[in-house]
């Protein structure tokens, strides 16, 4: 085991992965190819992301263009496929552009939290002892808050805004990711091949990179992917409370909040932004579940 790692090319590149692991990822890909449900929801997710990226090209209207005479029109009114909002702006265009902000606010905090929380978890798990106790007890404190409450508390105290919202969400997701990484690292650390690598003089950096990270990356990434859906719902929820994105930026949660006032006039349009959140979060959950079962070696 250690000879393959010692002779491997620069460890910072993907090429360094030993052949046996490529077989594992190959297996995962093979299983995913024969999982129609995951493929279907994965396609939906990809379409949503593409729509957000290419929003300027496909949006039929300017998402900021207001019109006094076109306020709260029903779907289908003069080319407004999903109708118009309380300021006469095209709802479809705003949903397409809103995807950029909502998806960023959902995905970025999970990515940053995976890096920080995962890093702290590996450190705690590999170092053990006092460092472990110190890190994990601090995490326990943040674990003692329900996630919605912690997100609201931090962004509420910091005074709202998209950046503060993302910082709050990052802080919400660091403790659970840290715990998952710590558990996985503690398990791997005590396995024989890690001792063997250390005994044959493999530098700590290599042991961490190949033996520890190579084995815990799967569970940590699966867990992180399951958090993205939670993060999107929470991010939109913050904007819905007036804590996240500020007007006039298009954001699904913020749109939902603004259109809520119009449920007596234009109920169908008021429900639209929520449908976007729902489809995204279902797709994300299904893809995450599919990945989990594809990466589960036991099944």
């Amino acid at each position: 085991m250690s000879t393959t790692t010692a002779t491997a090319s620069p460890p910072a590149t993907i090429n360094a992965t030993p052949p046996r692991q490529r077989g594992y990822w190959g297996n995962v890909g093979y299983r995913l190819r024969y999982d129609p449900v995951t493929l279907l929801f994965g396609t939906v997710l990809l379409l949503i992301i593409l729509c957000a990226i290419f929003a300027p090209l496909i949006a039929p209207f300017d998402p900021y263009q207001e019109s006094i005479i076109r306020r709260l029109k029903p779907p289908g009114y003069r080319g407004h496929i999903l109708g118009t909002d309380e300021l006469g702006r095209d709802v479809l265009s705003r949903i397409l552009f809103g995807g950029r902000i909502t998806l960023t606010m959902g995905i970025l905090p999970v990515m940053v939290a995976t890096l920080i929380g995962g890093g702290l978890g590996v450190l705690a798990g590999f170092a053990g002892g006092l460092i472990n106790a110190l890190i994990m007890r601090v995490m326990d404190v943040f674990y003692a808050f329900p996630s919605v409450l912690l997100a609201v508390a931090i962004s509420g105290a910091m005074g709202g805004g998209a950046v503060n919202g993302m910082i709050a969400l990052t802080l919400v997701f660091i403790p659970p990711l840290c715990r998952v990484a710590e558990t996985a690292t503690t398990q791997v650390r005590n396995l024989d091949f890690v001792d063997a690598a250390k005994a044959t003089g493999a530098p700590l950096r290599l042991v961490l990179w190949h033996h520890v990270l190579g084995n815990i990356l799967g569970p940590v990434l699966i867990y992180a992917s399951s958090l993205v859906s939670v993060s999107i719902i929470l991010a939109s929820g913050l904007s819905f409370l007036g804590l996240g994105v500020t007007p006039p930026e298009p954001d699904w949660g913020l749109m939902l909040n603004a259109l809520r006032q119009a449920i007596y006039i234009s109920p169908l349009v008021a429900a639209m932004p929520g449908i976007a959140i729902l489809i995204t979060s279902i797709s994300m959950n299904m893809v995450s579940d599919g990945l989990r079962s594809a990466m589960d070696v036991r099944s």
């Binding site: 007890r137 601090v138 326990d140 404190v141 943040f142 003692a144 808050f145 329900p146 996630s147 919605v148 409450l149 609201v152 508390a153 931090i154 509420g156 105290a157 910091m158 005074g159 709202g160 859906s229 719902i233 939109s236 929820g237 819905f240 409370l241 007036g242 804590l243 939902l256 809520r260 449920i263 007596y264 109920p267 008021a270 429900a271 932004p273 929520g274 449908i275 959140i277 729902l278 979060s281 279902i282 994300m284 959950n285 299904m286 579940d289």
Partner: protein
């Protein structure tokens, strides 16, 4: 058992202290000086200093924290900036409404999800199982603030069958439909996430239990299927009840969005109003109380579970 209870109770003390530190620190997360929110923007430096001295904000942070903790321990959470009323009174008045909402939601979610999960867990891989799993995924994927709005559109705006928001009066009367009808939509909305989570847990627990050897033995002995199921459920129940308890604590702190949608006069709505008016004392106090309730619920669930399942005590 006694030793375990004492150990578990003691382990909650540092967590509670940590929670209080986070809540204390919230004030310092706010942009600018805490005093600045109380004063007009053109206040001179001398006034700022005087007010700081008045609130004790010129002293070192650890002293300020201990001082704050001492007051909190005596039930003094400060006064609301917006209304001038005592924060502890405001919380006490709204907390009962949130307990009512969260407890009803969890109980209803449990009754639905337990049946769903049991049916799915006995027939893993069948159409019924996929259906239940699908509903469970929907339950955790649906943004409940949106579901609340949709339900208001359907039942309050279009059908005019149920009230859209609020509560009949401050004194809730469980025998009167006039009072109960205000609960229907918020409770249904809030129960969606626990339905998804409890159904998943039940399905996993029951399907695992059905593969156990003692079930095979029971069947081999000719025990009727309904009694086999009773044995399986009895053994599967503790973890499901634990999840249900944890969900209650989560809903207590997580009902803010649903309470805002329905203007339900609970602690979440209080918090949401405090955010809009930047009423930091109310924000801080409410979050502290809700987080401590969450810690207490988790503790209680742990203790109850260990009394149901002696194996946990040894771990």
């Amino acid at each position: 058992m006694f030793g375990y209870v004492v150990r578990r109770l003691l382990s909650a003390v540092p967590i509670a202290l940590g929670v209080s530190m986070v809540c204390f620190a919230l004030v310092y997360l706010a942009p600018g000086d805490p005093v600045q929110t109380l004063l007009p923007p053109d206040a001179d430096a001398e006034t700022v200093d005087r007010l700081k001295a008045l609130y004790g904000l010129d002293r070192p942070l650890p002293i300020q924290y201990l001082d704050w903790l001492w007051r909190v321990a005596h039930g003094d959470l400060g006064r609301s900036i917006a209304t001038g009323r005592e924060v502890s009174n405001e919380i006490a008045r709204s907390l009962g409404n949130t307990v009512l909402l969260a407890a009803l939601s969890v109980l209803i979610a449990f009754s639905i999800a337990f049946v769903m999960g049991t049916i799915a867990g006995r027939r893993v891989g069948t159409v019924v199982d996929r259906l239940v799993t699908g509903v469970a995924v929907l339950g955790v994927s649906i943004p409940n603030y949106w579901l609340g709005i949709v339900l208001v559109i359907i039942f309050a705006v279009e059908l005019m069958a149920l009230p859209a928001s609020g509560m009949a009066s401050d004194h809730f009367d469980p025998t009167s439909w006039d009072h109960l009808q205000y609960l229907v939509l918020p409770v249904f909305t809030l129960s969606m996430i626990p339905v998804g989570i409890i159904a998943r847990t039940t399905r996993a627990a029951v399907s695992e239990m059905m593969n156990q050897e003692f079930i095979v033995t029971l069947r081999a002995n000719g025990v009727p299927e309904w009694r086999v199921l009773r044995h399986a459920l009895k053994n599967a129940l503790p973890p499901i009840l634990a999840v249900m308890g944890l969900q209650f604590g989560t809903l207590m702190g997580g009902s803010i969005l649903v309470e805002t949608v329905f203007s339900w006069p609970g602690s979440g709505y209080l918090l949401s109003k405090a955010i809009l008016t930047r009423d930091i004392p109310v924000l801080q106090g409410t979050i502290l109380v809700l987080a401590l309730i969450f810690v207490a619920t988790n503790l209680l669930v742990d203790l109850l579970q260990s009394s149901l399942d002696p194996r946990i005590r040894r771990a």
